[in-house]
Amino acid sequence: MAEFILRRILQAMLVLFVMTVLVFFGIHVIGNPVDLFASSECTKACLDEIMVNLGLDRPVWQQYLIFLGNLAEGDLGRSFTHGVPAMSLIWERFPATLELAVAALVLALVIGLPLGFYAGLRPDSWISKAIMGLSMIGFSVPIFWIGLIMILTFSVKLGWLPAIGRGDLVTVFGVRVSFLTLDGLRHLAMPAFTLSLLMMSMVIRLTRAGLREVMTSDYIRFARANGVPEYRVLGWHAMKNLLIPIVTVLGMEFGGVIAFAVVTESIFSWPGVGKMLIDAISVLDRPLIVAYLIFVVTMFVLLNLVIDILYSLLDPRVRLGAGAA
């Protein structure tokens, strides 16, 4: 088990290293950020000064080494445009993204599980067919388009929900969140729903397929043959088997949700890291772009570790297998 975890960690660090190299050198191929800071009457000397200030006068490989050294200390450089450490900007904005992503995850489960369950129990009813049709659409449609239609419907036409921002915030344990105020919830509703659609479709499909398989299994028949009440058979005996693939897939997708938040945040002007990234890209704020990417990749790697642990908690067979290996 310890060896397994160690291997996973080493693997993860390798992935991180490769990513830093790719990202760092990739970003350095493009555009010259000095131009951004230079006013039109800036002389050569003033340009050089900016270069030195930004550390751009050194060779790229030196910049990378410095970057790597700083990275080890958790310092991902200063944003060109904001003039503050990139990491602090990310930490400042990340709670908003996390809140959005978690809300989307919760919505996907709360709506997707019952719908998938229904479709799995009565696969031939027209309601189930409608559910599956909707999940197909949820899979296919680009989420920015859904967001757009929602804004048009609920903000422009009906005027029920605000189209931009986070609304009133409350500070809980030092983190500012939206979901505890009514105004915040109204702001959260559309972006979270939009972001959750893809996951929701996935949950519906996984639940349906999983349930249909589980329901024909001998252990469900056995539980029923013992007179175990139906709510218990479905709600626990079947559910626990279903949750294994769902947790795995959702865990793997959660990183993707954070990445896709880029789109949602842009549409709804949600002040998270995704919107920050798009803004940084438009002004070529390299340290910020690099910091965002490193941050997201790191989160990915950590997430995968967490899923493995969760997975082994849910499925005792895995735990034993790992212990024996």
């Binding site: 001998d218 252990y219 043959a225 013992n226 009440p229 005996h237 626990k240 088997n241 499925d315 005792p316």
Partner: protein, 328 residues
């Protein structure tokens, strides 16, 4: 004495309308308290389906369309889904073929047994534990306290089947349906499980329906035997009579194929040909295509069950033994 289970003319179909397939057609089955009745027949003959029809756990596409299933005084077919749930586990228990698949892989033994126990009784946590430990001890499981905390995959196949049996017996049901519970086990374990089932059934006076492929098992455990073919019971009677003087050509074929094939208790049919598909059952006797005694009558007219001199009931126009009442 009135039988515990009395099934008459049970008919079960798959699908509906023009695509309706008769998987069971007029099955009769009678089991008394403390009696073991074996149900044999080759794969697809409808043995499991008979079991699921009785305890109301048919797959969604199948339904019972005819006959009666009396358990003691009640006809199970008249019960609502809720009443049926109360019967399952408390009055009718079921054990399945593959102990690997019978226990839920992601729930501890204790959880599964506790749910079965709580399905028909309200007990405190402590009482539940005591009962479960006693139940495991009774089926010969050593260190039952620890086994309760185990996950199914930590147990051997034989141990799992014991757990399944203990679970099915928790409420001392009057009837147990065992669907090939030893097929997936190796021979020594098979013997142990057979002996265990036999002992418990005799001690408690439980009626037991034992579904199997294996005539050796039938000879070893059962009092009576019903032979099924293509959804019908083709021969029924006391084990000794049926095995010594089979009346139906199909039964004869089964016995010969076991005698011929070497490793004892090998899988059934060595009879040439295959069982007809449900979708194209012949008009007359379903066995006609494979039967050495076939006559033109067999191809046009379905044989109805009638008694033989040796106490069997047989569905055949030309049985191998003299019909009852015939002058020898």
């Amino acid at each position: 004495m009135a039988p515990v289970l009395s099934v008459r003319g049970l008919t079960t179909v798959f699908g509906s309308g023009t695509q309706e397939l008769r998987a069971l057609d007029g099955v009769d089955l009678t089991v008394h308290a403390g009696e073991i009745v074996a149900l044999v027949g080759e794969s697809g003959s409808g043995k499991s389906l008979t079991g699921f029809s009785i305890n109301g756990l048919l797959p969604g596409v199948a339904r019972v369309t005819g006959g009666s299933i009396r358990l003691g005084e009640v006809d199970l077919r008249t019960l609502s889904a809720r009443e049926m749930r109360q019967v399952r586990g408390s009055r009718v228990g079921m054990i399945f073929q593959d102990p690997m698949m019978t226990l839920n892989p992601v729930l501890r033994v204790e959880t599964q047994m506790r749910d079965a126990l709580r399905a028909h009784s309200t007990l405190s946590r402590q009482e539940v534990r005591t009962r479960l430990i006693a139940a495991l001890a009774e089926v010969g499981i050593a260190a039952p306290e620890q086994r309760l905390r185990a996950w199914p995959h930590e147990l051997s196949g034989g141990m799992r089947q014991r757990v399944a049996i203990a679970t099915a017996l928790l409420h001392s049901p009057e009837l147990i349906i065992a669907d090939e519970p030893t097929t997936a086990l190796d021979v020594t374990i098979q013997g142990q499980i057979l002996a265990l089932a036999q002992r418990l059934c005799r001690e408690r006076g439980t009626a037991l329906v034992w579904i199997t492929h294996d005539l050796a098992v039938v000879a070893g455990i059962a009092d009576r035997v019903s032979v099924m073919y293509a959804g019908r019971v083709v021969e029924e009677g006391p084990v000794d009579a049926v095995l010594d003087t089979p009346a139906h050509p199909y039964t004869r074929g089964l016995i010969d194929s076991v005698a011929a094939s070497q490793p004892k208790g090998a899988r059934l049919p060595m009879i040439p040909g295959r069982m007809p598909l449900l979708s194209d059952l012949p008009q007359g006797c379903a066995f006609a295509a494979r039967c050495p005694r076939r006559s033109p009558l067999c191809e046009t007219t379905r044989p109805e069950p009638h008694p033989t001199g040796a106490g069997q009931t047989v569905r055949c126009h030309h049985p191998l033994t003299e019909p009852a009442g015939a002058v020898a």
